[in-house]
């Protein structure tokens, strides 16, 4: 079997299939992780005491336990209590929850950096606390948290490769199978590396564009 034939008819189709699965893991996990992270961070900063403790415990747990272990719990552990998740769903759930814990740290820091007067002014105008958080505090905090959250999404792209551990065959999983059949480890994983690099670069570009789009006078990032 010639090199080119192998590349065109076996490696590329398999890797592209894997790439699609990877993107299918990353996109929902990034979105859900960010939304959940905003909720957790808001609860930690503005929640009533029980909610605040709950949110802190969440962060400690999901940042503290290795992601592989979390994946195993969702996929292999839950059936013991009668809940069966597909490999794909188990992976998306694990990635979202873990990602949310990291997002919440960046966002919490940003929430704390917003001056007290902003909320006071909102309350003085008759805003409820919830309205104040939503329309005054979060739009500012998220602008400040964006670089950190972007970083977390970049990480997510890379740790999405753990999904193959619970038999969700994404890019890395396809590559493993290909390589173990053909013994072309170097070639296969070189291409895989390039594909991850491409995903990360594109994500970086997109995040940069979002940052520029949301930039406002007083919220620019100065490069000194």
């Amino acid at each position: 079997m010639g090199e080119w034939f192998y590349l065109e008819h076996e490696m590329l189709p398999a890797l592209l299939r894997g790439l699609w699965v990877s993107l299918g893991l990353i996109a929902p996990a990034a979105a859900a992780g960010l939304v959940l992270g905003i909720g957790v961070a808001s609860a930690r900063v503005y929640g009533a005491r029980p909610l605040r403790s709950l949110a802190s415990i969440y962060t400690v747990l999901f940042r503290g336990v290795p992601l592989v272990v979390q994946l195993f719990i969702w996929y292999f552990g839950l059936p013991h209590v009668g809940v069966y998740l597909s490999p794909y769903i188990a992976s998306v759930v694990a990635f979202s929850l873990c990602s949310a814990a990291y997002h919440s740290e960046y966002i919490r820091g940003a929430l704390l950096s917003i001056k007290r007067g902003q909320m006071q002014a909102a309350l003085a105008l008759g805003f409820t606390r919830f309205q104040g958080i939503r329309s005054i505090i979060l739009p500012q905090a998220l602008r400040r948290a964006l670089p950190g959250c972007g970083n977390e999404i970049i990480y997510l792209i890379k740790y999405s490769s753990l999904a193959y551990m619970v038999t969700c065959i994404e890019l890395t999983g396809e590559a493993k199978i290909l390589a173990s059949h053909s013994f072309k480890y170097t070639e296969v994983f070189l291409v895989v590396g390039v594909l991850y690099l491409a995903m990360v670069s594109i994500a970086g570009r997109v995040l940069g564009a979002v940052e520029a789009r949301l930039s406002l006078p007083g919220f620019e990032r100065h490069r000194l």
Partner: protein
């Protein structure tokens, strides 16, 4: 409702931080169109009193009536509704940093008063015009001078049609050359009949506006009366000492 009912009445407002009594049973009442000025040394409790009157800080004791109706602060609806009717101006402006001048004025109209966007925009533009900032509507707080920021914050409060305004040292954070433009806006407000309580160290300026001056120290009202009396013939020695010192400090005739 008779004319005799004060717009705002507060009785026995007390506030402690830890074991320290910051406000000791302060009471006051304002009739429609009345202007009262709070003076007193730093740490006297002026800011705390104003924030308690707006229930931004919850007093430990005391009752508040707005137009004769007691504010029920245990109910959220009552609390938010009350704050909406009481305008507040802060020393350091507290403009919403992510919104331009127009949006700063507009947002509460949309979110709190539930006005539709276009009507809110028009109203916000009118309020900005009243403080002379119609040409700066699309500037962000970071692009405005201190005086302009404070004028936007006044426009923002006025757009809510408050029944009374609380001003906490509205000119203290400003460079001397910017104080005048804010004073003019406040003077116009008084002439338009706004009821207000203002804490300030500019007692010369305050005296020209105030119906009554209230001297506070250590969380209590020491003396209150017409400005002329307080500044020249105060009954209390401490009031006299404070007025003459602050007169020198700010180069105003006391």
């Amino acid at each position: 409702m008779t004319a005799a009912v004060p717009i705002l009445r507060a009785e026995g407002i007390s506030k402690n931080y830890g074991s320290k009594a910051i406000l000791k049973e302060v009471s006051l009442a304002l009739d429609r169109g009345e202007v009262k000025v709070l003076i007193g040394p730093s740490g006297a409790g002026k800011s705390t009193l104003l924030q308690c009157l707006n229930l931004l800080v919850m007093p430990d004791a005391g009752r508040i009536w707005l137009e004769g109706r007691e504010v029920d602060r245990s109910r959220r609806k009552g609390l938010y509704g009350y704050r909406r009717q009481v305008g507040m101006i802060f020393q350091d402006f507290n403009l919403f940093d992510h919104l331009n001048a127009l949006e700063n004025v507009r947002i509460a109209l949309v979110r709190v008063k539930k006005m539709d966007r276009d009507a809110a925009r028009e109203r916000a533009m009118n309020e900005l015009a009243k403080v002379g900032l119609q040409d700066h509507a699309d500037k962000y707080p970071a692009q405005l001078s201190g005086g302009q920021k404070q004028r936007v914050s006044i426009a923002r409060a006025l757009a809510m049609d408050p029944k009374i305004m609380l001003l906490d040292e509205p000119t203290s954070a400003l460079d001397p050359e910017l104080i005048g433009e804010v004073m003019i806006v406040i003077r116009d407000l008084v002439q338009a009949g706004m009821t207000m309580i203002m804490a300030t160290h500019q007692i010369g300026f305050a005296a020209t506006l105030a119906d009554e001056m209230i001297f506070m120290e250590d969380g209590a009202v020491i003396e209150a009366g017409p400005p002329a009396k307080l500044m020249t013939a105060a009954e209390c020695e401490r009031t006299r000492a404070f007025c003459s010192k602050i007169g020198e400090l700010y180069g105003e005739s006391a």
